[in-house]
């Protein structure tokens, strides 16, 4: 399972980098959301002041690189950290399927919330194709989270011990 996921991760990364470098078009749906993964990892596995501090840089990165109204992405990212922490404390997250479900669930919730807010605000820049691309991005980021989290959580445990 893990070897397959790693192979999938490498192939997707290669495809995304090729599309971007050769065409100049930014294939966001092929790229995993690394800052999101970092925040959720800090919540699920690290916790405490260290986890909180670890979640701040990726939250700031999202705030600075996403063209949303000021501070919305920083606050929602920190909210994501606390949600993840709550899940991490109440669920057994070492099983691969749990990790996949948690990450996909959180990504889906975030995406649907933003789409909902934008629709309420009166803008509708979404289409069927956009939905398909977003589904690819969510599935792909969730799949990448499994081997990444399994590996990193093991290393983090050893560091703590």
């Amino acid at each position: 399972m893990r070897q397959f996921l790693v192979l999938l991760a490498v192939s997707y990364s290669g495809a995304a980098a090729s599309v971007w470098w050769l065409s100049g078009f930014f294939p966001w749906f092929l790229l995993p959301d690394f800052p999101f993964l970092a925040i959720v990892f800090a919540g699920l596995f690290m916790g405490g002041p260290v986890g909180f501090l670890a979640a701040i840089p990726p939250a700031l990165f999202r705030e600075l690189t996403v063209s949303a109204p000021p501070w919305t992405f920083f606050l929602s990212s920190m909210s994501l950290y606390f949600f993840s922490r709550e899940i991490g404390l109440r669920m057994f997250v070492r099983a691969e399927y749990y990790i996949l479900t948690i990450v996909v669930g959180l990504l889906l919730t975030e995406s649907l919330s933003i789409v909902g807010l934008m629709l309420v605000a009166g803008s509708r820049p979404f289409s069927l194709l956009w939905g398909a691309e977003e589904a690819v991005r969510i599935a792909w980021t969730g799949l990448l989270a499994v081997p990444l989290y399994m590996d990193l959580s093991g290393r983090w445990q050893r560091v703590k011990e």
Binding site: G24, F25, F26, L60, T65, S67, A68
Partner: protein, 281 residues
């Protein structure tokens, strides 16, 4: 009660933060938009990253287009020869119109230079999220760039400056859902509001079914709302549907410029006549 808060404080904090974020999203506070020192500092940190990634991408793109993709050159050469012949013919046709146009402009004392003072900038980064459509350019506050200024290319409009930093500015693209501007149909002079709808598309709003808009019509910015310069090309109508029910036509416009692939742009350095509020257009 105390034990409830002790047990659930993380969840309550998450909900509180999320509520504030939603409030800021729907009603961005003006004070926060102004006090943007963290964003300014962050832009200084990320500017070299954008520049490095952009440099690497351009390097690989150059190697590809100059050496590896030479197979296509011969075919492209033939196509370009045919295009040059067609364009020469077109130039002859347009010469008279051009001279007449020049005379009329002089007659009206139209000062193009004063109205369209621009500076060139390079696109150095893209918004990394799937929800918003924006690019970053390497011209910022020092160059006189201000929020609300129009960003164009000779081929058509690109968008509007959203935020400015030192040496960097964020451009909200025409196709972003928050972009809206007054436009006019070149052929029939029908006015409408263009709004971003993702991809490379915009929609035209408030066009009555009785008004004359068909696929293939060119859409220009009217300049009436003061946000984009008059006469700049937005794009071409790809579909115009007249629904049986409903007050307005459903019109889709494909932007003239491939916004995701634009590399060099011009910022029109005239201040917008309508006050601009970052985050809420």
């Amino acid at each position: 009660m105390g034990s409830f808060f002790r047990k659930w404080w993380r969840l309550l904090t998450a909900i509180l933060l999320l509520s504030v974020a939603i409030q800021f999203f729907v009603r961005p506070p003006l004070a926060l938009s102004r006090a943007d020192s963290v964003h300014a500092a962050g832009s200084v940190v990320f500017r070299p990253v954008y520049a490095t990634v952009d440099y690497a991408r351009r390097g690989i793109h150059t190697v590809w287009s100059h050496y590896i993709a030479l197979v296509e050159v011969s075919r492209e050469n033939d196509r370009l020869r045919r295009e040059v012949a067609a364009l020469r013919e077109k130039i002859h046709e347009n010469r008279d119109t051009l001279l007449e146009n020049r005379r009329l402009r002089e007659l009206l004392h139209f000062s193009e230079a004063a109205e369209r003072k621009t500076i060139g900038a390079r696109v150095v980064g893209h918004d990394v999220s799937p929800w918003f459509q924006a690019v970053f350019i390497d011209a910022g506050i020092e160059a006189g760039v201000e929020p609300g200024m129009a960003v164009v290319t000779p081929a058509g409009g690109i968008g509007r400056i959203h935020k400015t930093y030192s040496g960097l500015a964020e451009v909200l693209l025409l196709t972003d859902g928050r972009f809206a501007a007054d436009v006019i149909v070149e052929r029939s002079r029908v006015r409408a509001i263009a709004e971003g709808m993702g991809g490379n598309l915009c929609r035209l709003k408030y066009v009555s079914p009785t008004q004359d808009v068909v696929a293939g019509d060119r859409i220009l910015f009217s300049g009436f709302d003061g946000s984009m310069p008059k006469g700049i090309l937005l794009g071409t109508v790809v579909s115009a549907d007249r629904p049986r029910e409903g007050l307005f036509q459903k019109i889709k416009v494909q932007t003239a410029v491939n916004l995701q692939a634009a590399e060099e742009v011009l910022v029109v350095l005239s201040r917008p006549s309508i006050p601009f509020r970052a985050g809420k257009l």
